[in-house]
Assembly symmetry: C2
Homo-oligomer: 333 residues x 2
């Protein structure tokens, strides 16, 4: 959560609270985030940098607030900071935090609190903007990052593209969106559809819809499917972290590239067809040689454009998939 917001948010991160690394800068600990923000030991130390908000920078499975975060949130509320949280546990349901927010005339923004969503209507099938959904080999492999990088690349090519956030980190970054995983299951595809309609309403021509979970993640696959059907994509970009061999937290193997492509395309084909047009690889942890080899292996196994959009930048990959995105117009005919 913290990493994603530091890397991509348009809001400035003025300081990071982390006692274990206090005194350093973000760049010293996580060079790839490209941030010189100071790391401090406490909220009180952080106030010297004139923050307006405290982001609860974690996204644990199950979404509960760790007990040892409570003191920091109390201190931030007393300093009149806005609290921004992406947890399932709604801080606005916590009487102590609500009382403090009222007393100090500030507010709590629970990113994951979804709006009331209707049932899926089918209106997303008529959206004229092209919709590109990132689909993953698992949760937390880099789908949001790939969608953000592709949005950046498309914009630099002069295309009116937008990132469509579907999770709490994306919402913190872009300032709008719905955490689909927090929506009542019956209405999850409808909530995904509303986001696509909102993207069209904003006048964009190309929507990079942030994917969630993975189609064989036993906990999160229903959210994946809600986006696959409710988001009505025209094209899919498959995302995989090459170091991942098993589904996070479960004794379930990650599928091969070909099995993933077959599974996602076969499901789409039963409702609205969409093809996988490229593979965005996350090679973090690999040296350059291994990263090159993994990218080459994915290309050979699938015949698709494959690249690491962070390591190598998104432009070559975007240019490689752009013709396939243009072709998806026929799906609307």
């Amino acid at each position: 959560m913290a990493h994603g917001v530091i890397a991509y948010s348009s809001d400035t991160v003025v300081a990071v609270v982390d006692p274990d690394h206090a005194g350093k800068r973000v760049r010293d600990v996580l060079p790839y985030l490209g941030s010189d923000a100071p790391i401090v030991a406490s909220i009180d130390d952080g106030l010297a940098f004139a923050p307006t908000s405290l982001l609860v920078g974690i996204a644990p499975a199950g979404g509960k607030l760790p007990e040892d975060f409570r003191a920091a949130i109390r201190a931030a509320l007393r300093a009149r900071l806005e609290i921004v949280s992406g947890l399932h546990a709604m801080l606005n349901d916590d009487p102590e935090f609500v009382a403090l927010a009222n007393e100090h005339d500030t507010r709590i923004w629970d990113l994951r609190l979804p709006p009331a969503a209707p049932l899926f209507s089918g209106a997303a099938w008529d959206v004229k903007a092209k919709i590109v959904l990132t689909v993953g080999s698992d949760a937390a492999v880099g789908k949001m990052t790939a969608s953000l990088e592709l949005t950046r690349a498309a914009r630099q090519r002069g295309v009116d593209a937008a990132f469509v956030p579907t999770g709490q980190i994306g919402i913190a970054i872009a300032g709008w969106g719905t955490a689909i995983d927090r929506v009542v299951a019956d209405f999850a595809p409808g909530a995904a559809e509303q986001l696509v309609l909102e993207g069209e309403h904003r006048g964009h021509d190309l929507l990079f819809l942030e994917g969630q979970g993975g189609i064989n993640n036993p906990a999160f696959a229903p959210v994946t499917l809600a986006l696959l059907y409710g988001g009505a994509p025209d094209a899919l970009v498959l995302v995989h972290a090459v170091e991942r061999t098993r589904i996070e937290d479960y004794d379930v193997p990650i599928l091969s590239y070909r099995a993933l492509i077959r599974t996602y395309e076969a499901l789409c084909a039963t409702v609205k067809p969409a093809r996988v047009v490229g593979i965005a690889l996350n090679t973090r942890g690999c040296d350059d040689e291994r990263a090159r080899a993994e990218i080459e292996r994915a290309r050979t196994e699938t015949g698709l454009p494959c690249d690491d959009l962070v390591r190598n930048g998104p432009h070559a990959f975007y240019d490689a998939i752009a013709p396939a995105l243009a072709k998806t117009e026929v799906l609307h005919a």
Copy 2:
């Protein structure tokens, strides 16, 4: 909703409120429900039959309360009846109904209000009871009925089988269960898992887990998948209503038997393998000859045991699939 409860609930339906058919009996209007309950024009007329509860007998898509039901609910509360509702709209959130319930010392049971569910843990994979999930060509094709009929057949064969309810109608019938479609999407597989663990905890050897939705229903497929993964089935029974050719409310074709089997089995295979062991057909609306032909066509196309469990009773079908259920023990090895 009303039909399912009349047909299967262990509670007695003493009267049905329906002004359009007042004066008749249920059997006159819906012979296959096998009920002699009188149909009356109003709650007041129904009170003569000494009811203890009013069931809101509808399950509309989206789950809102029709305005013209409000007067009947008010009248029932004033007569101290318990109100039982399976709507998404929680009657316990309605200040007028809550005030009336308090005033008249009765209560409202919102069947669909789910308990707090944890994330899926994988504990369902270790359940020793055999788990048979009904999977459908679409929503509302007869999955609950098939699960109930199979439970009845297994019990008559001396097997300690139980029906595991996952929707509001099943909960009204069996008195326990969770409406999986009402659970927050992230926790829907966990809620399905909890039901299976509860079935095992109750000491049963064979669990007929009620399926929901359909794998290419664009609105309800996430709930289907939550049961397919979270319920950790050992075997699947495919259910199809032969008159259905398109997904209800959407311009999406129903898949062929073979495509349905392939899709469900392929998804299961990525997490925990389970095979389709038979097809329960719903031939309502067909004459006997057409019903026989449809059953024969399904058998020919799939090579599996196929039958209409209501028209022909569940025993022959249960006996035909029982050997395959026994074989699923190897999956636990």
